[in-house]
């Protein structure tokens, strides 16, 4: 795993997240709270000031990576797990649908492995919250009974 990444790439990711939230119709106050940055920074981001366009390019490349690599990179850049989760949810390129087969034994391994904390056990069966799912497929790959399928939802 990558351990230290340059700080300015983090601002590139935050820029992308701020723009995305703006597109979703959130105001600056809300965006600042959501990303845990101060309001003036949000304002700068949205008005295209004080930014390194290079780091935004790198950030864009990162969001275009295969979901698992995207997640790993964000973790490495942002460090804080809670903030990483937020960025991943906002910046992910696709939505995912999760299917859990009846063969699930309720061992909870996926719950422990999911970085996005999108899995819970409900009556001894994994239940995946697709809003939080980042498509990294760690659960699908590690499930001892191969009970999980993660599918990308295609845009129409």
């Amino acid at each position: 795993m990558v351990n230290k990444m340059p700080k300015h790439i983090a601002s590139g990711l935050k820029y992308l997240a701020a723009v995305k939230l703006k597109e979703q119709g959130h105001n600056q106050q809300k965006i600042a709270e959501e990303l845990d940055i101060d309001r003036s920074t949000v304002s700068h981001y949205l008005n295209g000031r004080n930014l390194s366009w290079n780091s935004i390019d790198v950030a864009k490349t990162i969001t275009d990576l295969y979901p698992k690599d995207f997640l790993t990179m964000v973790q490495a850049i942002i460090q804080d797990p809670e903030k990483s989760r937020k960025i991943v949810i906002i910046c992910k390129k696709y939505e995912y649908d999760a299917f859990v087969d009846d063969s699930c034994i309720g061992c909870g391994l996926c719950v422990d492995l999911c970085f996005m904390k999108s899995i819970t056990l409900v009556s001894l069966k994994a239940q995946i919250n697709s809003i939080h799912c980042c498509g990294c497929q760690t659960c699908e790959n590690e499930c001892p009974t191969n009970s999980i399928k993660i599918l990308e939802i295609e845009d129409d």
Binding site: D102, S103, C104, I105, G106, C107, G108, L109, V111, D112, L113, K117, S123, L124, K125, P144, T145
Partner: protein, 363 residues
């Protein structure tokens, strides 16, 4: 990365996974009955049951002393490891723990055993001793094949049950010792050594049966039972009760029902988780006794012929005490035993996999 840790304590071990929640699977070797249900239900094939026939045989001295050896030559602390779990394969799903007919495998999630969690199915079996009904006769303690019951009893003093008067006139006594020999309660001591002759009667031991008085050749003993003589019941009935306590070790108990079967009152009550059948193919049986050694419930025994030329079954079964665990069928080298589970009494669950696993026990 999340990893399982295995920690061994003698033959017991723990497998632990600490992440969002702490899952801990513990194995108690002395509780395990070697039925192999865990091995066959493990979804990731992480469990390996050892050769239980040989392990249960190791509980006995190898010097053969006839078929009574089962009762005679048990080595108390036989500690062969009965099963192992590959901690790299184990996913701590708890299926082995949920389906273990005893409590040998125990999965806890954040220190709560899954047997106490409603979402996990568990067997509706029990064994209990009702202290109000129990007369502390210790019959169940003797019968229990798992040594899971301890009955302690405090007997009343004899002087709380019977009273009387007893006296020796030493002038008449010839210290012959007849009374001491006859006394059923060993209450009389006579020293017959020349020159140091003496007679002592211990009134705490005396039951006032008057045997000494009747047997004394010189009428030196004067005794009477107050109850017979005067009809006086001058003792406190409360002091004449047998008190006690019963302890049932739920961990060792296999709910076989021996205690209930031998209980003279209705104090011991048990319920089994499995209903089913136990069939022994007497033609295939080669009378090696491996099944007898391994049975956790003392259900099986050799047949002792009562006369010559009898055609008898080779292995006898007391089916009422069988818990259908299948350990005997697994130990039999000739596949002469078939154990079938037809019904399992368990709490409901929504998980199809768990229902399937429970149904798979019914073969």
């Amino acid at each position: 990365m999340i990893k399982n840790m295995k920690e061994s304590k003698g033959n017991d071990f723990d497998i632990k996974r600490a992440a969002e929640e702490v899952r801990n699977l513990s194995f108690n070797n002395h509780v395990c009955i070697g039925c192999g249900i865990c091995e066959s239900t493990c979804p990731v094939e992480a469990i390996d049951l050892k050769d239980m026939g040989a392990i249960s045989r190791n509980k006995f001295n190898t010097e053969f002393s006839g078929h009574d050896k089962l009762n005679q030559n048990i080595i108390e602390d036989n500690e062969d490891l009965k099963l192992t779990i590959d901690e790299h394969k184990c996913v701590l799903c708890g299926m082995c723990s949920g389906l273990c007919p005893v409590d040998a495998l125990k999965l806890t999630i954040d220190d709560t055993p899954i047997r106490e969690m409603d979402i996990y199915p568990h067997y509706n079996d029990y064994a209990r001793i009702d202290d109000d009904e129990c007369i502390y006769c210790q019959k169940c303690q003797t019968a229990c094949p798992r040594d899971a019951i301890i009955i302690e009893r405090n007997l009343p003093k004899r002087s709380d049950l019977v009273t009387g008067e007893i006296d020796v006139t030493e002038d008449k006594c010839i210290y012959c010792g007849i009374c001491a020999e006859m006394c059923p309660a060993e209450a009389i001591e006579v020293d017959r050594e020349t020159g140091k002759e003496s007679i002592v009667i211990d009134k705490d031991k005396c039951v006032y049966c008057l045997v000494c008085k009747k047997s004394c050749p010189t009428n030196a003993i004067d005794a009477l039972c107050r109850i017979c003589s005067y009809g006086e019941y001058d003792i406190n009935p409360e002091n004449a009760i047998v008190l006690g306590s019963s302890v049932l070790d739920q961990e060792l108990c296999v709910k076989c029902g021996w205690c209930e079967g031998v209980c003279p009152t209705n104090a011991a009550k048990t319920k089994k988780a499995f209903e089913g059948t136990l069939e022994i193919d007497q033609d295939k049986c080669q009378t090696c006794g491996a099944c007898i050694d391994i049975c956790p419930c003392n259900v099986l025994s050799f047949v002792v012929p009562t006369g010559p030329g009898q055609k008898l079954d080779k292995i006898l079964k007391k089916e009422e005490y069988c818990i259908r665990c299948g350990a005997c069928a697994k130990a039999c080298p000739n596949d002469a035993i078939t154990v079938k589970i037809t019904n399992i009494d368990h709490t409901p669950t929504n998980s199809k996999t768990w229902i399937n696993a429970l149904n798979a026990l019914k073969n």
